[in-house]
């Protein structure tokens, strides 16, 4: 980001535009703060982690999730309908044979309801330009070294669907509860740039 001076100038400009729009009746009083609160409380990677843990322990749920993710996530009390419109969700699952990783090369499309606000690296030109061309190299940069025999599938969110990856369940987790399993899952695991 630019320096403090630029930041204070743009900050004043944003306030000015907001005031102008309020005076024209295009913004309601308190609307901006309400929207910010809603965004910050609506989604978090904990949602994606819950879906993942359920898929690990319940093969039937996993099957339904891959076939029709929008319906399946309602079983765990989640929905893709909280934004401007209901978005189609496509869930893909990692196996020994196939590793999935998600990008939006054209802009920054991301499943906000399930993963919360996106990290800056996901929106960066560096990630968007390279992961489609050299995913193995990019994953290595993230510290994820995949076996040669694991095929990599990159998904470019270039239209209306949003994507989530179900990472592989770590070995030695047989005795854990669904809640404990969910705690193992990270945001990067749900994008496909980490193992879990």
């Amino acid at each position: 980001m630019s320096g403090d001076h630029t930041s204070s100038v743009i900050s004043a400009q944003v306030r000015h535009v907001e005031a102008l729009l309020e005076s024209r009746g295009l913004l309601d009083n308190g609307e901006i703060d309400g929207r910010i609160d809603k965004f910050l409380t609506r989604g978090s990677p904990a949602n994606g982690a819950r879906i993942t843990a359920r898929a690990w322990v319940d093969a039937g749920f996993s099957e339904r999730l891959l076939a029709d993710a929008n319906s399946a996530i309602r079983e765990v009390g989640l929905s893709m309908a909280g934004g401007l419109q209901e978005q189609r969700l496509k869930v893909v699952v990692n196996t020994v044979e196939e590793h999935n990783v998600v990008v939006c090369t054209l802009c920054s499309c991301y499943p906000l309801a399930l993963l919360g606000p996106s990290p800056s690296w996901y929106k960066s030109e560096a990630y968007r330009s390279r992961v489609v061309r050299d995913p193995r190299g990019v994953l290595r940069e993230f510290g994820l070294e995949l076996p040669e025999r694991t095929r990599i599938s990159v998904w470019d969110a270039s239209a209306e669907s949003r994507y989530m990856v179900v990472p592989r369940r770590p070995e030695g987790t047989e005795g854990l509860s669904e809640e404990q399993l969910a705690a193992l899952v990270t945001r990067k695991g749900l994008i496909g740039t980490a193992a879990v």
Binding site: V17, R35, L106
Partner: protein
């Protein structure tokens, strides 16, 4: 014609950097820009694809020099002018 946002497969960008414990917004104004965009789309001032298009119409130099939410704010003001909601002079900060 190809625009600067269409970077898939392009060479020359730096290594990917991760920020640990990154906050959702890095400054208050970023959160305001985010919310402002949602409010204007909801009111039908413009649609989401017109917004994406406006970001893509930035010049490559300007696009690459701008932060993520600086791009958003540029697109919002472009659209407010183009849709006849406000003039460039009105959007500019009054000079004190």
């Amino acid at each position: 014609m190809s625009r600067i946002n269409d970077v898939g497969g392009m060479a020359g960008f730096p290594a990917i950097t991760e920020e640990s414990d990154e906050p959702p917004f890095h400054a208050d104004w970023e959160a305001h820009v985010f919310a402002l965009n949602g409010a204007l789309i909801k009111r039908g001032v413009y649609n989401l694809d017109e917004f994406r298009d406006a970001i893509e119409r930035m010049s490559p130099e300007e696009y690459l020099a701008a932060s993520y939410y600086e791009r958003w704010f540029t697109a919002i003001t472009m659209l407010l002018i183009e849709k006849g909601v406000a003039s460039p002079e009105e959007l500019d900060l009054p000079h004190g």
